[in-house]
């Protein structure tokens, strides 16, 4: 009986340890929601809007995690590809749903190219993929700026002066996407008790989830899981590790490009030089808040994460303003929490890795001892 209790205690402890971050967030939200004084329908509306806006982007992170490449900070590359496509499509004046679909199609070659470059570089930096993908996002951002700020309009033809800087080349700081704003969200949208539900967007996200589940079962998906578990074993089993890793990054980048286009059609304008800069950080933070870790993430984590993270994001400034009388405190608080969550998750992952290593060592020693006793 006592053994059972002990066991239950141990399970509870492991549960707590594995879910520290989501539980912490539930607590923060539980405290902040009443203080902020937002009405439930407002909150629900905001959360569903943000779910539609962000879920697809976050889904793009799942596949590299499966392939053991950690959190893909290089998803920013996909976001940039999506933005490039949107700039072209708005220059061609193709609006509404055709515009969104065309942008997605145009983004694919950019995403594939960038993803391939990123995957190649990450293969040269095995063991430190995350910091490398993080620096890649900065590096490609420089190249993106070079293209958009200097080459567009001077080398790459841009016809409409409305999106060009007054000097004749380079793209303006904001490109209006007013003519495709929420075109996907509004089609088939349903209003229930004042809460707008963007059914089509949610359907697209659901379809993506199904695709990911299906993908995991394919040969390629299985290969990726094998590579994620142990590169050496996978290689011995005849899997082309390098190629598999590159493909996983390419898929992630393409999905991030689609996600960014969905995100921007909801927002309705494109901040040419800054829209992508924070996207990686927020998506990764949201995924981790949902209980994912560096080596394991599920679709459930994505949705729990979006809901918890964005609830915090909505209520924190208001709650901070009520508590301290200064609205900036809440703004800084949510930024701090986003970074703090990522830091915590990274630390827990590295410590878990060390613990497992130590465990394996102990087990080996134990097995050796037993063997000696048998002799």
């Amino acid at each position: 009986m006592s053994g059972k209790q002990q066991n239950a205690g141990k399970t509870a402890f492991t549960f707590l340890r594995n879910n520290t971050v989501p539980l912490m967030f539930i607590l923060i939200c539980a405290v902040c929601i009443p203080i902020s004084g937002f009405s439930p329908s407002y909150l629900l509306n905001e959360i569903i809007t943000r779910l539609g806006r962000n879920a697809f982007l976050i889904l793009s992170l799942l596949i590299p995690i499966m392939a053991g490449m950690g959190l893909n900070f290089g998803m920013t590359l996909g976001a940039m590809a999506g933005e490039l496509a949107l700039i072209f499509v708005s220059d061609w004046q193709i609006w509404g749903i055709p515009g969104v679909v065309l942008a997605m199609i145009v983004s694919i070659p950019f995403s594939v190219l960038l993803g391939w470059v990123c995957g190649k570089i990450l293969n040269m930096a095995k063991g430190r993929e995350m910091i490398t993908s993080y620096i890649i996002s900065f590096f490609i951002n420089g190249i993106y700026q070079l293209i958009v700020l200097y080459l567009m309009g001077s080398v790459i033809p841009i016809a409409h002066s409305s999106i060009k800087l007054p000097r004749g080349y380079g793209i303006r700081n904001t490109v209006s996407l007013l003519n495709m704003r929420q075109c996907i969200d509004n089609l088939l949208a349903v209003r229930i008790a004042g809460v707008k539900i963007p059914v089509l967007t949610l359907l697209i996200i659901a379809l993506m989830c199904i695709l990911i589940v299906w993908f995991r079962r394919t040969k390629l998906g299985q290969d990726m899981r094998a590579v994620g578990q142990d590169i050496q074993v996978a290689r011995d089993a005849g899997i082309n590790v390098e190629r598999t890793r590159i493909i996983s990054i390419i898929i992630s980048t393409v999905l991030a490009g689609f996600g960014m286009i969905l995100y921007l059609q909801n927002i309705g304008n494109l901040s040419t030089y800054s829209a992508h800069s924070q996207v990686g950080m927020f998506c990764i933070a949201a995924l981790l808040v949902g209980g994912a870790s560096v080596d394991h993430a599920s679709i459930g984590n994505v949705f729990l994460g979006v809901i918890l993270f964005h609830t915090m994001f909505i209520v924190a400034p208001q709650a901070g303003a009520v508590i301290t009388g200064d609205s900036m405190i809440g703004e800084y608080f949510r930024v701090f929490v986003s970074y703090g969550v990522i830091t915590l998750a990274l630390i827990m992952y590295e410590m878990k890795k060390r613990r497992q290593k130590a465990n394996i060592g102990e087990q080996l020693a134990l097995a050796q001892k037993e063997e000696e006793q048998h002799e």
């Binding site: 570089i121 910091i131 890649i136 590096f139 990522i342």
Partner: protein, 347 residues
């Protein structure tokens, strides 16, 4: 001849060669397009004197195998605490600089020890976690700058009477105290002797330290931790020492930067300060697990040279300022290059 050239390129590194060549081209172009060269040289030397100590802060952690210190903002925050407290306590003139150094030291030691203890528990994942430790601490301090009870009239927001401003002028405090100390003027070129002397002092101290018993142990830990452990070196302790040193140097580094720049920058300003320092030392020839004082000096000169020269020269040549983009591509490209060297994968 060709083989010799190839081996030179391989050892020096192609990106480094491109960056050096680019800077040389800028210097050659400068007089042709009518840029005031002595003025530019003064600028480069000045910016070197502001930034060199921040770059020097990279050295100890690279030596002990903790990798590039992307967590530099943590040390910078200690420096900022020292600077603001020194002003708050009413120190002025050169004394305010001395007190800023004195006050920031305990902060740097405590934060550095905590940071070191953390890095000891996550060996192998240092660089990524360091980056995020830096980010979290900067965003945490953003709240603190607003909440801490500072009252000095020229530091806080005028209307509210509380909460520090985003930039605080150092006029009347330690603005240029080091730069003006023993300043030498040759023609149009002026040399900030004091700041250079302080850097020289710290650099020599670092060089000497690396040749002491503890310093050699630090290098041993970095190059082969298992061997070092077998030789009876307390690996964790040495790593901790290197992190504390790096954090303290970052604190001093930001104070020297401020005295040259003339302002204290708070809130999000320290956020990306690690990246220029990291890429500077890499441009100077360092790698993820090898760095010398020469790398620091060369790297800071090259990096700051590009930062100062590109805007003016580019502007005169093509009448647009592409310097920001070039800086982003060059510095991050350099970091990428260093991270992907296969021979240096430490795990």
């Amino acid at each position: 001849m060709k083989a010799k050239l190839a081996s030179f390129v391989a050892s020096f590194g192609l990106p480094r060669l491109i960056i050096t060549g680019f800077l040389l081209a800028l210097f050659i172009l400068a007089p042709i397009v009518g840029v005031d060269l002595p003025m530019q040289i003064t600028n480069v030397i000045n910016r070197f004197s502001w930034n060199a100590i921040l770059v020097l802060a990279m050295v100890p952690m690279v030596h002990s195998g903790c990798g590039l210190n992307f967590g530099l903002p943590l040390g910078i925050i200690s420096g900022l605490l020292g600077a603001t407290l020194s002003l708050e306590f009413g120190f002025t003139g050169p004394m305010s600089f001395v007190m800023a150094v004195v006050i920031s030291t305990p902060f740097a030691l405590v934060l550095g020890m905590g940071y070191g203890a953390l890095l000891n528990r996550i060996k192998g994942g240092e660089m990524m976690i360091a980056t995020y430790v830096g980010f979290s601490s900067v965003s945490f301090m953003c709240m603190m700058w607003l909440l801490l009870p500072y009252h000095k009239a020229d530091m806080v927001w005028g209307l509210a009477g509380k909460g520090l401003r985003t930039t605080i002028s150092l006029e009347g405090y330690y603005d240029k105290v080091l730069s003006n100390f023993l300043q030498i003027n040759i023609g149009k070129i002026s040399i900030p002797t004091g700041a250079l002397l302080l850097f020289a002092l710290l650099a020599v101290a670092m060089w000497a330290f690396l040749h002491t018993k503890t310093g050699t142990a630090m290098t041993a830990v970095g190059s082969n931790p298992t061997f070092a452990k077998a030789a009876g070196i307390k690996v964790d302790k040495i790593r901790m020492l290197s992190v504390v040193m790096s954090t303290w140097l970052a604190a001093i580094g930001i104070l020297v930067y401020e005295q040259g720049f003339g302002f204290i920058q708070l809130y999000m300003a320290p956020f990306y300060m690690a990246l220029p320092a990291v890429s500077a030392i890499l441009i100077g020839g360092a790698s993820v697990n090898k760095a010398t004082i020469v790398n620091v000096i060369l790297g800071t000169l090259l990096f700051q040279g590009i930062v100062t020269m590109t805007p003016t020269v580019m502007n005169s040549v093509i009448h647009t300022d592409m310097s920001e983009v070039i800086r982003v591509i060059a510095s991050n490209g350099m970091i990428l290059y260093a991270l992907t060297r296969r021979s240096e994968v430490s795990r």
